[in-house]
Symmetry: D2
Subunit: 341 residues, 4 copies
């Protein structure tokens, strides 16, 4: 068998672990050949690829990023790919394509699959918002980085009797904010799933100070937003250079809390440190398992599906099912978190 593999979308710890696992299982388990397309679907369309053997993937398990590169592709070029899917497969002589990516990538994968290319997907997102899999690799690393940051920030908050507002990733789903907020012992968590009331946060902080706990940490997903009328809030404003301002909800909320509370509030925007660097052990194991099962699925001819974690097992689920709906934080998970504020 000849297998093509590519990584698309944002950086995510564990991508290299998947690539390595695919190559190992394919070559030593089945005697397959593997090629890697560079910079995601772009490499597939432009014919940029290279053979991947055991040496090519040696030493990459613990490395962040992706040795294959990743790039965004315009929608119409993706459509172009879909239209020539079976031709592309023939051209490269690949029997299956294993794209590793997030919602956009899996949607593209589904288009290619529908258009006749044998595809086995591997889901990837640090946001953990893909339905049909319990978890995605990269998420654990992101939560770990955010938690360690909150561990550090607490001592400063406490020493200076301050409110720290920590903005973490999560544009459409609040999983990182939920879990890092719980693990970091945040006293408030704001998710995209539920507009927050600034009044509630103000009240929580005031009650803490009244109880003698003279600091607070609030964990905010970048996609969280205030309930209507709750505070002045500017989304995506443009600065004096004509660029979008890098001033998200975290900064705006800190400004608002300082104004209302009359206490120092400081924003900390964690940003890209959450998505790079060496993956946690959890993410390395999950990514390695996904790679193994993707190859096995390919050999069973189980196309049009992607790997998914269900409990302790890896199962294959239809791509169609995976991308129809975002996995959001349900109300009962939020209730668990609120209990320890």
């Amino acid at each position: 068998m000849r297998i093509g593999v590519l990584t698309a979308g944002g950086d995510c710890p564990g991508l290299n672990a998947v690539i390595r696992s695919v190559v190992h299982r394919a070559m030593t388990g089945h005697g397959d050949e593997v090629i890697g397309f560079e910079d995601g679907f772009k490499g597939l369309l432009d014919g940029h690829f290279r053979p991947l053997d055991l040496n090519a993937v040696s030493g990459i398990l613990a490395r962040g990023g992706t040795i294959l590169g990743s790039a965004r592709l315009e929608r119409n070029r993706l459509r172009e790919a879909a239209e020539s899917a079976s031709e592309l497969a023939r051209q490269y002589g690949i029997d299956v394509l294993i794209p590793i990516g997030g919602e956009g990538t899996l949607t593209a994968a589904r288009m290619l699959s529908d258009a006749g290319m044998p595809v086995v997907g591997v889901p990837k997102t640090i946001d953990n918002d893909i339905s049909s899999t319990d978890r995605t690799f990269g998420f654990d690393t992101a939560v770990g980085v955010a938690t360690e940051a909150m561990d550090r920030l607490k001592t400063t908050a406490e020493s200076h009797q301050r409110v720290m507002v920590v903005e973490v990733m999560g544009r459409h789903a609040g999983w990182i904010a939920l879990e890092s907020g719980m693990a970091g012992g945040a006293h408030g968590i704001c998710l995209p799933e539920r507009p927050f009331e600034v009044d509630d946060l103000v009240k929580m902080v005031e009650e803490r100070f009244a109880r003698g706990k003279k600091f607070a940490v609030i964990c905010v997903a970048e996609g969280a937003h205030p309930a209507e009328g709750s505070m002045e809030y500017a989304k995506g404003e443009i600065d004096q250079f004509g660029h979008e301002r890098f001033q998200g909800i975290g900064t705006q909320l800190a400004v608002e809390l300082e104004r209302r509370l009359g206490k120092e509030a400081r924003p900390v925007i964690l940003g890209h440190v959450q998505r790079g660097g060496t993956p946690t052990a959890y993410d390395r194991v999950l990514a390695t398992r996904f790679g193994w099962h993707a190859v096995e699925a390919a050999h069973r001819g189980d196309f049009g599906r992607m790997t998914a974690l269900r409990g302790t097992h890896i199962e294959m689920v239809p791509l169609a099912e995976a991308v129809t709906q975002l996995k959001r934080v349900p109300a009962d998970r939020m209730r668990e978190a609120e209990s320890v504020f």
Copy 2:
């Protein structure tokens, strides 16, 4: 409601997170009272306990160990406890006991429950070998520590063309060895579940050296043992002071490999560093959720059961079911790991 909580058995990162979560949920969610027994069942029998309020559990989320202490108790004293279970409950005025512990603790919990004490268990083991729950807290931390050690050891092994034998915890089940071995990129993994052939390891190392990869890391669970006739192997020998020697399978295997290979082999025994210290974000979240659900179960009168992770949900399972059988590493999980050796 008045809730008693205790921690028993070995140290495990996340114990404090459970205690904190129990206290928060009980007090702020239900207006309960909570008392903590000291040093496990010993405190229950000897009447050593203290009230736990929000201040008592402040700042302990990220701390390893247990603020309540833990001690082993002889079997006959446990039987004594079981016999006077309902009396003990009355004596302390507790409506429910929440013991947090491993197999032994949960067995004791079941005895108490059978004898009439309302009990809700919380499973705990860094070994991850309790059936009926997908994972236990503490395990992720242990795997993380072992993985980081292997990351470090690899560079030494490579620079010096050596074989490193890393002994990790796991007396009866090999989960830590399996997952840290996969995550740390070990080239051989030895589990208690399957006697290993030294010949296989020798062959693997020789093939690696032949391919130009002049080093190897082998991850061995402390409970692993060689296949009969595979190597001389002394279990539990006694030293000159009349004490059991602290020389486990890791050291013996390193000695044997050096002899057969004619190459330097070195044992590294990770030991107790795996079970102490600050828990990972994963373990803090799981422990916090277990605490929340234990309190909810208590309020539902859902006694004689323990919290369990099933997929992404926390469910209650009968204590009886939990402790009848050890969860061992199945053959297919080992196959996944072998693929990337």
Copy 3:
């Protein structure tokens, strides 16, 4: 002897290690009594203090922040303190005051000393910009946090062919930027000590891309600024809510580089995570030694001086000397760093 201790100024990993060391050395080495003033000089003026014994400092060595709290004090209240210095000492019955703090604190300490209070200072700043000491505790931790962030950011930069601009602390001196930039393998470092030319950075990035290294990381001290005419640059602008914008040089430089390069550039503002949390081993050792020597100096009657690291020794230097001049990054240190861009 009766010793008063206080911590003033910004949070800094290692403060608790000094306090612990002072208490241990004073009590067990000399049979002294120690009291701790709360919230810096405020506690001294307002009479907020508490006795510190071995139990009070148990378990704080590895904890960030300061158990005594810290607060800023207005200049005129400080003058008030200086005027009543000897009276204050008498009032609390202290034979010596050990203030632990940065430039402002040491200046205040000098005023108190000049006014007749026996004072032994301990220098503290994560910025490492106090003359007369080779290093200050807290600095190593800050550099470590910033370096780990750059390690993580590199994989994202590389996978996405991006320029990452990392803003680190350092308003007046660029030590954190210099050392974390060197340790994190930054390709450009901008310090307050030397206005930077945007053209140089643009050229560096373009040359890297031309060589096939399609990413770059630039490390910028928050106090760095462009050479005149080098780019549009707004210092301390005010946003629509009347607050100062939290948009520093890092963000502005990223915007400018993206504009000129036509490549994605992203700012990452590390902020307060650099100054909180558990200190590195280096900082714990240095802080512990400072505490020990401060007590010894007090017993020798060596007042009006502060502890300082000189090579491998701790020496006492006059407070006057310590605060007259900021320690800036000299040109030859910058040359060493430039070599590996």
Copy 4:
């Protein structure tokens, strides 16, 4: 200029950072050529070397180990090298050799230098025991690893009322034990510099338990040994396979303490994890500076010397001076540490 570089002796975090720095400074600063000899002096004698350019050293700053490999060489082969030193230099066309290594390597370097080869040494030892330099790279990483282990072990010790004996590296000098013991808050430190009295340790533990602190951590250098008559002690015993037993002072001391105290005592042997893996920021900076200054010294013709940290400066010191005497922990450093037991 044509520069030869090699790494010899044990693995040490920061070796790659030196190599990278040498190559960068030599090539971009001076237009030099650099070749790297493989496996230490062995490569020099056997003619195994490869050219090193910017690509060859790309991405190695944060990697442990050494890309050039390292191997021990018998004394008589070293003498052979010394005898043909100038011939070797001519043969490879190198104008200078930069050997990076510990005491043995620097002694060999001195022999080569005396025999006419232009040599600039770079000192390397995780033990920090080379005179004439304040610190060596690798040491900070080793101390950090040992400190983190002690942080973890304390919670287990405390939860189980145990004595933990942590054996760290340091055969002839106790720097790692001293600094990790201080940073990890050990309650006893045993160094090679001073035979320890078991009675003192027993008394310390008993006093702690009497004060209600029911645990203790003792940090022991592998080269520490008991005072005569203090305990039975077997050095370098041979096991049943004819190999030296891997049972060092840490294990023996734990056995002895358990016997005398009647309390659980457990040994933890950190071993090779201390010397591998990614270097701390401190070590990366120091290693990078050493590389820079070695190249500058070569261009100044400053041969027969090695780089050394003196305060905040890098200076060149004669190789002769560097290797005559081991740098041991002086009594006053030990006194500082004892204060906080």
